[in-house]
Structures are given as structure tokens and as C-alpha cells.
């Protein structure tokens, strides 16, 4: 295959677990295969597991070597494969197997069903851009030579002007459509958007120049009109690219709806149905290698899952009966029976897709300001231009001069920078975050994240991975009895108890006292030492303790160990390095909390904090003027999170509505919290810069234009420069590089 030199030189990471090979995929290729007119078949597939161009090379070569394949091409930007083959020689399943054997996963889809309308619009925009660019640059041939001082006779000059007209008039008629059509639509609905002044400016410039070319009384501005369109279209195109990235993220997530799932009927028969028809309560059979199409709970089967599409990490994680699984996870080892709890829009992927789409609608302080300004802007622009016209006409008596200045004012006052750029920053940052597993529940969260100066960590589940293990063997009946109580709670300690005890029948009528424990109807209690009436003879152990008091009064103690996340210390150090104060608040005993604080380097820590204590701690600090980011358990610790300026919680999109935090971190990396903070800082800085650039430019340029000091051409140049600068500033925030560089 030509990879010999690669294999002889690569090294393997011994600490990484070897990936589990996937045998065969169960996918309904037949449904999506299309017949072509010449007897060949075509299939569109989404490819998962691509890491770099070498993967693309490998897949394309392997496919091309199969008999009967006519073309196999992967689009590296969208990660989609288009396959064409001769029907008589091979079929979809054979070809797909050759790829899945290598470890990649293929999901067929219907290309018609996905945003092809947007693609067309983007192409149209690019076409208008090309035409405007052609017109502008060719007409510049004439203008530049004239400015450079070429001495030409009036006839030659007239000839050049007519050539310019000939090129620019049709080109402008074509390239102005992205502005003129919305402006016309707006007018019909009695609304004046920013497209209107732009259209007006271009039309007036062209009209004026045409008059000059005929009457030969002054300068023509054909190149100004063409350049204006060219630069404005660049700005608009860049804006689309930023939004398109966010949308394709959402598309990839909703692709899941387009393939087949196996549902178990009431009478035990397995049916293959489209994934979009699955409902809560259905039982799915998920085979090895198949993607789970809805959120659910495992009822039968033990396997490992690849949750990469949700958390961004692909290390397999084990699942057992009773555990929840998110939609989009891939079943790696053994068949599972899953009872559906949420499907379609309600599922993990559905919610993530909705968040991705709404990333564009996010409003921060600057966008809101810009929106309000926009309402006054259009009338203001027209008023200023009209004033300029009237003043100069009255002052000099020369209508042509007055019109030139008025047009310059129209062009220069275009607030495209203001309108385009601040939302673009928001969209870029929010979609980058989404792609890497950080979900913004509230759009203002980004702005608030930028304002913090203190971060308060919870211990269990935040600094530690919440994976409690029972220390020491215990198979006593007390353990099982305690587990029956624990079955009523979602607390990590309860779940660890159940894991240690094995499957037990939950007790009915258990009530939970938040922060303290659980009480059974017969008086048995499970929880803190105080709650169970145990005296404080516990020693200063670093283990977390759970006490169980039987109805009869005997007290048992269960000790759990809970490891710190590998990146906790790093995260705390990173925040400190950025000048943010750190603190640790935990409901756990002093021993484990002190150990955690020591290991992560946090000096300010409190143990035994009940929910009210946490709340008070935060309120105190907030009153003292600090802005706090609280990272804690969004499901069990809501009041504490609400008291902070902004809150984050490790969690998943499945629990999005239950999670009280402003930002949800998916996956196991606590470091993402720091990266999100850094990205928020950079995003807000970019928004401020853009705002300053747009306002500053208008403040300087408008008076100059009104004073008649700027020609329409320079007006076009200035306006475009501000617009493009501001777009490029926003683009810096999107993409993998922006995310990776936020970690340091």
C-alpha cells in the first residue's frame, strides 16, 4: 500500500488502550443507494473515525482497489464519502465492509435531505463576488492609469469611461442582487434594512457616473461602485462561512435520524424501522458496531461504548444493565437491549443539534447594543446623506458636486462592520465550544465567563471523577440492605453502593433529605454520620464515608475511595496562572477535602459544607465584589450554582434540562473548563475590538465625508476595510486551532 516507511517509523503509546475492532455494521444501504442512468450505483456516506488526511488516503485507496468501484472520493471538509460502482460486479455491503474492517464507521444518508439550499446560496454569493471582482479590477486598469498622471486626450478619456460603463453596468446589475433583493423585500414590508442604503449608494453612483459619461462634465465613479460591491460581498461571504460551519455541525448531529434501527415488538419479533420513528418506551436491539439512535437505559447486555460524538473522547467506556446511554454512542462489543427514554429532538443529539442551530441566535451585550443601533441607523444614514446634499448644493450651486459628496456619505456610513461582526464572534465562539463538547445553556454565559475573577470548585464529580469504589470487600447483608435504600437516590455515593452490592430491589417510600441522607419508612437511615447518629470516632481518614443505621439501631460504615481526575491539578494551576483566585467547597469530610486541596494546590477550602453553607459562601464573596465561576454538580447542587455569577457542571446533553448550570461540560476533561474560559475571554475581547473598530471608523469617516474630503472611491475602500477587518477578527475564534490553543 505504500505505508511501509510509516509503519517502520511510528511508535505506539503504551498507555493507550488498543482500539476495539468493529466487525460489521448493520446499516440499510439499500435504502440509500441510487441508480444512475448508466447502470452504475451511487451511495453517499458519512465517515466517522477520520483523524487526518492519511485516513482519507487509506480509505480511498482501499476502495479503489476493490473490483467494480468507479470512484470513491471523500470530502475532507464535510467528512462525507461519495461512492460509485458497477452494479454487476459488486454491491454496497461488500464495499462498506472493506472500510469498516479498517476501523472506520459509515453512515449512509440522503444528500437531498441536507441543507443543499444553503450550498446553492453560497455558490451564488461566490459567483457575484467573482463578477464584481472582475469588473472592479479591470476597470481599475483605466482609473489607475489616469490617477498616475497619464496625459490623455479628452476623446481617449471618454473612451475609457465608456469602456468602464460597459463593464461595470452589467456586472453591477448581476452582483448587486444579494443586496438589492432583500432591500426590495424589506421595502415591500415597509422595513428599511441596511441593504437599502447600500443599494441606493451603488445605484446613485452608477447613475451619476453614466450621466457624467454622457455629458462629459466631470469624473465618473464606475470603479468605486464595482469595488464597493466587491468588498461588501467579501464581507458577506466570510460571514456565511462562519455560520455554515455552525450549521454543518448541527447537520452531522441530525444525520443520525436518517438510518435504520431495530425495534423489538411486543410479541418478541425484531423489526427494522427508520430511526426517526423510535419513541420512548420502545426497546431497541443495538448490535455490535451499531450506533444507538436514541437515549435510553440498558436493560440487557454488557458492552463498551464509544461516546466520541457526544464527548469528543473515543476511549471505550463500559456499560451494564441499568446504566443510561446517550444517542449517538456506538456499541463496540456485545449486543444490547436498550429501553428508549428520549428520542428525536429530546435526545442528547437532538438537543445538541438544537443548541448548534441556536448558536447563531445568541445575544450578548454588544449584539443587543448593535441591534438597537441598527434601528436608528438606516434613518440616520439617509438623513445625513440628504443633509450633505442640500448643504453642498446650496453652498456651491453645483448639483453634481453635492451628489458626489452625498453618495460618499451614504457609502461611508454603512454600519456593516457593526451589523456583521459582533454576531459573527458569538457564532464562531459558540460553535467551536459546541464542537468540543462544551454546551452553552444560556448565550450570556460566554459574556459572564469573561468577567470572572474567582473560580470555586466542588470536589465530588468535579475535581474527582465521581467514580467511587467501595474500599475493602464487603458482602454482608448490611451492604445489600443499604443498597436497597440507596436505589432511590442519584447521588454518586449511592450509585457506588449499588455497584458494589449488585442488583437489589429498591425499597419503596424512601425519602431523601438533601445534603444529609436517605430515610426508609421503617426508620433505617443512610447518609452522613450526624444524620445516622454516629459519634465522631472516624479518624482522619482520607476516604469518604457513608453511614448506615439499621432500623434496629446498629450502625455500619462504608468507606469509598475517589480518585482525582488526571487533569485537576493542571486545571487549577492554569486558572491561577491566569490570575484567577481558586477555592474548594465540598460537603465531604475534612480528611478527603484537605487531601484534594493539597493535591490540586488550592489554599482556600471548606469541608462539611451543606448546600446552604455553599450558597452563603458564594453570596459573601459576591457581595465583596468578586465575580465567581462555580464548577459543581448541576443536578444535585442547584442552589449553590445559582448563587454564582456563572456556573459550569460536568454532565451530558441528556440531562441538559435537569442541569442547573449555565454551561455543561461533556466528557471527562476538567481542562475544558479552562479552555472555555480562555475562549470566552478571547471572544469578548474580539467583540470589544470589533465594536471599537466599527464605531471608531464611523466617527472618523462620517465627518470627513460630510465635509467633502472623501471621494466615493475612498469611501468604498474605508468602509470595506473596516468590514473585512472585523470579519477576520471573528474568524480567528473558530476551528480546531482556536480550541487547542485555549488550553495553555
Amino acid at each position: 500500500m505504500g505505508l511501509d516507511s510509516y509503519y517502520s517509523q511510528r511508535t505506539l503509546d503504551e498507555n493507550a488502550r488498543p482500539p476495539i475492532p468493529v466487525e460489521s455494521t448493520r446499516s440499510d444501504f439499500g435504502h440509500y443507494t441510487r441508480e444512475n442512468a448508466d447502470g452504475t450505483q451511487t451511495l453517499h456516506l458519512m465517515v466517522e473515525g477520520l483523524h487526518c488526511a492519511a485516513c482519507v488516503w487509506l480509505i480511498e485507496r482501499v476502495l479503489e482497489r476493490q473490483a467494480g468501484v468507479l470512484s470513491a472520493r471523500i470530502n475532507m471538509t464535510t467528512r462525507r464519502l461519495v461512492l460509485r460502482w458497477d452494479q454487476g460486479i459488486t454491491d454496497a455491503k461488500t464495499l462498506a465492509d472493506s472500510v469498516t474492517r479498517l476501523g472506520y464507521r459509515l453512515v449512509p444518508y440522503d444528500p437531498e435531505a441536507l441543507g443543499s439550499a444553503d450550498k446553492k446560496e453560497e455558490r451564488e454569493l461566490l459567483l457575484c463576488l467573482a463578477v464584481a471582482g472582475f469588473a472592479a479590477s479591470n476597470v481599475m486598469l483605466f482609473s489607475v492609469s489616469l490617477w498616475a498622471g497619464a496625459q490623455v486626450e479628452p476623446e481617449t478619456r471618454a473612451l475609457m469611461q465608456w469602456y468602464s460603463a460597459l463593464i461595470v453596468l452589467p456586472a453591477s446589475a448581476f452582483a448587486i442582487r444579494p443586496f438589492a433583493l432583500p432591500a426590495w423585500e424589506g421595502l415591500k414590508n415597509r422595513r428599511v434594512t441596511m441593504d437599502f442604503p447600500i443599494t441606493l449608494a451603488v445605484v446613485l453612483t452608477l447613475g451619476m457616473s453614466l450621466y457624467e459619461a454622457i455629458a462629459q462634465t466631470g469624473e465618473t465613479w464606475f470603479e468605486a461602485a464595482a469595488s464597493l460591491l466587491f468588498f461588501l460581498l467579501i464581507g458577506r461571504y466570510l460571514d456565511r462561512r462562519v455560520r455554515a460551519k455552525a450549521l454543518s455541525c448541527a447537520e452531522d448531529l441530525t444525520l443520525l435520524q436518517s438510518h435504520a434501527a431495530t425495534v423489538l415488538d411486543a410479541d418478541g419479533a425484531a423489526r427494522s424501522v427508520p430511526a426517526s420513528t423510535v419513541r420512548p418506551g420502545d426497546t431497541l436491539i443495538v448490535a455490535r458496531g451499531e450506533k444507538i439512535c436514541a437515549d435510553g437505559i440498558v436493560r440487557e447486555g454488557t458492552s463498551t461504548l464509544d461516546r466520541a460524538i457526544v464527548t469528543g473522547e473515543s476511549l471505550p467506556s463500559p456499560v451494564r444493565p441499568g446504566e443510561a446511554v446517550p444517542s449517538g454512542a456506538i456499541n463496540l462489543e456485545a449486543p444490547l437491549r436498550v429501553e428508549v427514554t428520549a428520542a428525536g429532538e429530546e435526545s442528547t443529539l437532538g438537543r445538541m443539534a438544537a443548541l448548534a442551530e441556536s448558536a447563531g441566535a445568541a445575544r450578548n451585550r454588544y449584539t443587543r447594543l448593535a441591534d438597537r443601533a441598527a434601528r436608528y441607523y438606516a434613518p440616520a444614514v439617509h438623513t445625513l446623506a440628504a443633509l450633505t446634499l442640500v448643504f453642498w448644493w446650496g453652498w456651491s450651486g453645483d448639483f453634481h458636486l453635492a451628489l458626489t459628496h452625498a453618495v460618499a456619505v451614504l457609502i461611508v456610513t454603512c454600519p456593516c462592520a457593526l451589523a456583521l461582526a459582533v454576531p459573527a464572534v458569538q457564532v464562531a465562539a459558540a460553535s467551536t465550544l459546541l464542537r468540543f463538547g462544551v454546551l452553552l445553556k444560556r448565550p450570556e454565559a460566554l459574556e459572564k465567563l469573561d468577567e470572572i475573577d474567582t473560580v470555586v470548585f466542588d470536589k465530588t464529580g468535579t475535581l474527582t471523577n465521581g467514580d467511587f469504589r467501595l474500599a475493602g470487600e464487603d458482602s454482608s447483608s448490611a451492604l445489600r440492605a443499604a443498597a436497597r435504600l440507596a436505589a432511590a437516590s442519584a447521588h454518586p455515593l449511592s450509585r457506588a453502593l449499588i455497584r458494589a452490592a449488585g442488583p437489589v430491589e429498591p425499597l419503596a417510600g424512601v425519602c431523601e433529605v438533601p445534603g444529609q441522607g436517605l430515610e426508609a419508612p421503617d426508620g433505617a437511615r443512610l447518609g452522613t454520620a450526624v444524620f445516622c447518629g454516629a459519634s465522631g470516632v472516624e479518624g482522619d481518614t482520607e476516604l469518604t464515608l457513608l453511614h448506615y443505621r439499621e432500623a434496629a439501631g446498629t450502625i455500619h460504615r462504608f468507606a469509598f475511595s475517589d480518585a482525582l481526575r488526571p487533569d485537576s491539578a493542571r486545571t487549577v494551576a492554569a486558572f491561577r496562572g491566569a490570575g484567577i483566585a481558586t477555592a474548594l467547597l465540598s460537603g465531604d469530610r475534612e480528611g478527603p477535602v484537605r487531601a484534594a486541596a493539597l493535591l490540586t494546590g488550592i489554599a482556600d477550602w471548606r469541608a462539611q459544607a451543606r448546600p446552604e453553607d455553599k450558597h452563603d459562601f458564594l453570596m459573601e464573596k459576591e457581595k465583596a465584589g468578586r465575580r465567581i465561576l462555580m464548577i459543581g454538580d448541576g443536578i444535585n447542587d442547584a442552589p449553590a450554582l445559582a448563587a454564582a455569577h456563572v456556573s459550569m457542571s460536568p454532565g451530558s446533553a441528556a440531562d441538559l434540562s435537569r442541569n442547573a448550570a449555565d454551561i455543561v461540560l461533556q466528557g471527562d476533561r476538567l481542562e475544558s473548563s479552562f479552555a472555555a474560559f480562555r475562549l470566552a475571554r478571547r471572544a469578548m475581547r474580539a467583540a470589544r475590538q470589533n465594536f471599537a473598530i466599527s464605531i471608531g471608523y464611523n466617527v472618523v469617516a462620517v465627518p470627513l465625508a460630510m465635509a467633502g474630503l472623501i471621494t466615493p472611491l475612498w469611501a468604498a475602500a474605508f468602509m470595506s476595510a473596516s468590514s473585512i477587518t472585523v470579519m477576520l477578527n471573528a474568524l480567528k475564534l473558530s476551528g480546531e486551532k482556536a480550541w487547542k490553543s485555549s488550553f495553555s
Binding site: D4, Y7, L12, E14, A53, R61, I74, N75, N138
Partner: protein, 58 residues
């Protein structure tokens, strides 16, 4: 300056040629996959027909 009567149309024709080339490139889908185009130049076209070496697994 009579030469201009000849030169200007020539320049315009060249410009139009450029535009036509761009439109052709756009229509034939060359802008669909910009990341891919950047990396495909590094792909080996005809890999040597040596027997595939099985990967050493760790």
C-alpha cells in the same frame, strides 16, 4: 494613443477569460472541499506493489 483601441479590448478579453475560468472552477465543484484540495497534493498516486506489511500492534 491609437494603440489603446487595440490594447483595451485585448486586456478585457483576458480579464473575461479569467472570469470564465473562475466560473468554470466554481461550477465543477472545485470549491467544495478546500481542506481536501490542500492535502491531496501529498497523496502518493501509484503505491508500489509490495505485499502489505501487517501493522505491529502494541
Amino acid at each position: 494613443m491609437e494603440i489603446l483601441v487595440f490594447l483595451i479590448p485585448v486586456a478585457l478579453l483576458m480579464g473575461l477569460g479569467g472570469l470564465a475560468a473562475f466560473i468554470w472552477a466554481l461550477r465543477s465543484g472545485q470549491y467544495e472541499d478546500l481542506d481536501g484540495a490542500a492535502r491531496r497534493i501529498l497523496f502518493e498516486e501509484n503505491a508500489p506493489d509490495s505485499p502489505p506489511k501487517p501493522p505491529e500492534n502494541g
